[in-house]
Amino acid sequence: MVNSQPKIQVSGLQVSYGKEPALKGLSLDVRDNEILGIIGPAQSGKTTLLKVINRTIDYISSARVTGSVLFEGKNILETKDVHSLRRKIGMVSPLPVGLPLSIYDNVAFAPRAAGIRDRKKLDPLIEQCLQQAALWDEVKDRLDTLGTKLSGGQQQRLTIARALSHEPDVLCLDEFSIAIDPVTTMRIEDVLKELKSKMTIVLVTNLVQQARRLADRTAFVWNGELIELDDTETIFSDAAKDQRTKDYVNGVFG
């Protein structure tokens, strides 16, 4: 399944917030239909990387970004049409945010904004997204209740359903399991394994073992730099090249 042409190619990416550097010339590539796990301690720049990839970094006024991020051959940093870029690159943030709308409207939000109004088209799409996010069975009888009334784990799956609703090519997940229980986490992980056949997934996680379970390849990012990127098996074995990687995955630090 190793593909020659990378889906996303990050090269020499530098990001700083004011004088504070967050990424110091990071380069990596994301392959088609893989789950790329990104691990590393807090403040190492993982979230910043995701924010650059779907250009939500634009809303942080102090951020300075240089380098290039190629997606489908075009530099994301220079693209004019950020809205369609963000539709192609879905994002799930660490804390679940149910928009103050009904469950149905939450998932229908992006399709509607893109101009799909017909219930006949929306209904199956919403069911499909909620199915994919493993939430359908729990909410199918109360799609009109407020999304914010769901439990934390349900809201997180709702945000995943929402991110799937605009049928992205790439799904970025930023520490999605931070607010949910282990059982729900496992369910979402199963979902991700299935989704992999349809899209590319970038999984930023604090849980080293989660990357080990899910990721095809794993990147270890530390202090704004890529320390090592290799097949997950390699990273989690003695074959890892960098001592810091070994120490981190074995829990010596971080």
């Binding site: 369609s84 963000r86 943030s93 945010v97 928009l99 103050p100 605009h166």
Partner: protein
């Protein structure tokens, strides 16, 4: 000798009492105002007051020698027309400005705009009236080719300028109260900024925005000096925005000094006062209940 500990207890008690009195004084003042306005008007209200004639007659002849008539319909129409015109202008502009300041501008511009709008709110109403009289009046005469520019339109425009700062500052506060995570979540879905405002922020801040509008209405209904100067002060039901009108507040302000204390006329003016008091009370109470609604919702989520 009192010990340090006793002194602490005593001073604590004193401070608490003083603060308590300060707090309660607001209630006392409101009740006091209501009591005195009511007392002045009560004599007429309970003996000679004919509500149907009062509310549904346009004949306002309080100083007629042979047949005094106190019908305020035309004056209510005056207040209503000026308020409607003011809100037609102030609501879109005020909410638009609130959205712009809160969502679309940053840094220096934002600070400057906020300061300017605060400044707008601080201009005394008589100055607004003066602008209506000296600036708007000739403008309206020129633009619409009418003999007199002191009209409902003039008063409405002036009032809208006075209501806009209130709508902007409360509207902006309520937009600011929407958690940033909503914005981030919405933006990450690939929608445009305006779609985010329209589909996420406005529903989320709906109650606060409504309260902003209502307080703006309250301001427009209650304002006196500016409309007294700008509307022409003619008792008639306006046929168009270019007719002169008279408002409830302006009637009280203009006539109270002329009416003999204790006379029917004097008392009727206080009845109008009670009526106005009731309107603004209802509007403020509604706004309060709506704002409280926001808090309850937030508490749940």
């Amino acid at each position: 000798m009192i010990t340090r500990k006793q002194w602490t207890t005593v001073s604590e008690f004193l401070i608490e009492t003083v603060i308590r009195i300060c707090g309660i004084s607001a209630i006392i003042f409101v009740l006091g105002i209501f009591f005195f306005v009511f007392r002045e008007g009560a004599g007429f209200l309970f003996s000679k007051w004919e509500p149907i004639k009062f509310f549904f007659s346009t004949e306002w002849y309080p100083t007629s020698v042979s047949n005094k008539r106190y019908g305020i319909l035309a004056i209510i129409a005056g207040t209503a027309s000026v308020t409607v015109i003011a809100m037609t202008i102030a609501v879109p502009f005020g909410l638009g400005a609130a959205i712009f300041i809160s969502e679309f501008c940053t840094g220096k511009l934002k600070e400057i705009l906020k300061i300017l709008i605060e400044f707008l709110a601080a201009i005394p109403s008589v100055v607004w009236g003066f602008i209506g009289l000296m600036v708007m009046n000739p403008l309206i005469i020129d633009i619409f080719n009418v003999p007199i520019g002191l009209t409902a339109l003039n008063g409405g425009i002036i009032l809208s300028l006075m209501a806009i700062p209130i709508i902007v500052s409360i509207g902006e506060d309520s937009l600011k109260a929407v958690p940033d995570s909503y914005r981030e979540a919405a933006i990450a879905l690939g929608i445009t900024k305006w779609q985010m405002v329209y589909r996420v922020l406005m529903p989320a801040a709906k109650n606060g925005l409504l309260a902003a509008v209502l307080l703006g209405v309250g301001r427009a209904v209650g304002e006196t000096m500016a409309v007294l100067l700008a509307t022409g002060h003619a008792v008639q039901i306006p046929g168009s925005p270019l007719d002169s009108v008279r408002t409830l507040t302006a009637t009280i302000a203009a006539e109270l000094g002329e009416a003999p204390v204790g006379s029917d006329h004097y008392q009727v003016l206080f009845v109008i006062g009670i009526f106005l008091f009731t309107i603004t009370f209802v509007i403020n109470l509604t706004a309060y209940l709506i704002v409280k609604g926001i808090r309850v919702q937030k508490g749940e989520s």
